[in-house]
Symmetry: C2
Subunit: 342 residues, 2 copies
């Protein structure tokens, strides 16, 4: 029983030294659904946790066609040229084991992936948003422990994935293409208000004027929205990932935002709030999983849901009925009564 | 045991006939925390439920100083004059039993409250947002069953109460005062994107020009945000509650919005989504309540929370530890083992 623990210690040591293979192996353990792997991952992460917290956690979402991959590749190369180590992860609850739709395409980000200071990992495969998000959070911590100073987390915008990513990063960036007022097509409600930074990409050639107009429009719109913290008012910048223009200004803004949050004590406060919400999410998800793992409760829940949708039953009454059954004992009675025989 | 049920049947009948005293009594049962009252309320609501669904459910939130009470009183009088029956409820998780901060002040809405076609009820006292919101939802259903064709639900904007109200109404209205770009001070992030209708109040006298400018600004800003449904693009109107100006245009817009949602099948879809989310919220809250009702789990949760906030423990690991304890038996072992003795 002590052997796998020693394995963890060695693996942790190699991760902490920045060994990319060890990091890949650690993330494979984190993403595995095998109970023994999960136990190993938990013990490994406990060892890595004290060595996390220094990285800049950068979230990126964007409209389809905004040029997200090109932007991530360009900013990644830009940062590597300055000596930074960059990890790129993704949250995509729609990705399947065989060929994830994000970062999985070998032809994308090819140039970036070849740099030794870069670690790119596609979204963990399938599962619920909660499961995918948890594994990405944990993978991000492993990357931090391995010395990656910038951890970029991309979201494809399926389900509530933008909210999940915004809730695990220090700076949440929304990437748009200039589109004459249609910039936000494909962006869900509420997302712009999560943004610490809005970037209008493709500010080059024929689109330069449109990009500048879009920037002014968003600047005005953001002025009407309330910032998440008095410490930082979201900014809108233009850039061209294709021509590698404006990237240093983007990076300087990200650094200024971090400085502002740190100085106001808001970085630590934001991370503590994120940790509390993550804990609460995990507890709720775990409780619901336990409920669904009980076949009779699962059947009852499905019945109650259709009754509730058809307005034949009040949600509060339905919940009481389900919980009475699940908590008060029918499920408990099915458990082996070991206390009787011992 | 059948007597209270008969009482419910009689009470339900009186509510359905539009008896205001019976409605007040029904809501008192709904708001009571006594288990026998709660049982009565559940059975009463089951009888009323088939007679609900016809009302226009109108949510109203607004910045402090936007003139919310004056507006609700004015639109209420306007609707009563047209022959409508209007109920006004509120969600205020901060209100205390003794003197709710909202609608509880007897000097407010005095003129409106005297009309026989009006039913005004302050926010249920204290408790969590979930509890307050549930009781308001159920009170709203009782009002609908009593024949109130317009049910106005006000929120004071404490905690997540705007989101809770937006999730129980057909038309969510944001009331602003013209303030030269500072209109949204006091409005939390994300609220404007929940609005189906934005009203710039106080469009009179010296503020008329500012109100018109604010209307144009919000019109432009909303154009950049994505509407909740293709069936309805949020509109911005000006009005003066004090001078009773623009109220008919507001009401016509509310009716158009309802017509648009109905025609697209979106009203039924929205209500079904709201019911599903309400059920899910109730189940999660009930499971967390059960966890907190176990003293050892409650203590452990508090410990784990501080470990997590201090980054000494991963939220996922903390949740697993707590759930293992709560679900796998320590709590279950404390239950009487009746199967042994029978």
């Amino acid at each position: 029983l002590s052997e796998p623990r020693e394995g963890d210690a060695q693996l942790a040591e190699r991760v902490l030294k920045g060994d990319r293979r060890a990091l890949a192996r650690a993330i494979t353990l984190i993403e595995s659904r095998r109970p023994d792997h999960q136990e190993q991952a938990e013990s490994l992460l406990a060892r890595l946790l004290p060595h996390t917290g220094q990285a800049i956690r950068l979230g990126i979402t964007g409209t389809p066609g905004a040029g997200k991959s090109t932007f991530i590749e360009a900013i990644g190369r830009h940062l590597v040229a300055q000596g930074h180590k960059v990890a790129v992860l993704a949250v995509d609850p729609s990705s399947r084991r065989s060929g994830g739709s994000i970062l999985g395409d070998k032809t994308r980000m090819q140039a970036l992936a070849q740099a030794p200071q870069v670690f790119i990992r596609p979204s963990p495969a399938g599962g619920t948003l909660g499961g995918v998000a948890r594994r990405t959070r944990e993978a991000a911590l492993a990357c931090e422990a391995a010395g990656y100073g910038v951890v970029v987390i991309e979201t494809v915008g399926v389900g509530q994935s933008e909210t999940a990513v915004a809730d695990m990063v220090d700076c949440f960036t929304l990437l748009l293409a200039p589109g004459g007022g249609d910039e936000l097509q494909g962006i869900k409600r509420g997302i712009i208000e999560l943004a610490d930074l809005v970037l209008v990409n493709k500010a080059d050639g024929d689109l330069l004027a449109a990009a500048k107009r879009a920037r002014a429009d968003y600047q005005a719109a953001l002025h009407l929205l309330r910032p998440a913290t008095p410490a930082w008012t979201p900014e809108v910048l233009t850039c061209s990932a294709l021509h590698e223009e404006g990237l240093e200004a983007v990076w300087q803004t990200i650094c200024r935002q971090r400085g502002a949050l740190e100085q106001a004590g808001e970085l630590a406060a934001r991370r503590a709030r994120q940790a509390r919400r993550w804990l609460r999410t995990e507890i709720e998800a775990g409780l619901l999983d336990a409920l669904r793992a009980d076949p009779a409760s699962r059947r009852l829940l499905a019945e109650l849901e259709s009754e509730v949708e058809a307005t034949r039953l009040l949600p509060s009454a339905a919940a009481r009925r389900l919980l009475r059954r699940f908590l008060a004992g029918d499920a408990a009675k099915d458990r082996p009564q070991q206390t009787c025989t011992s």
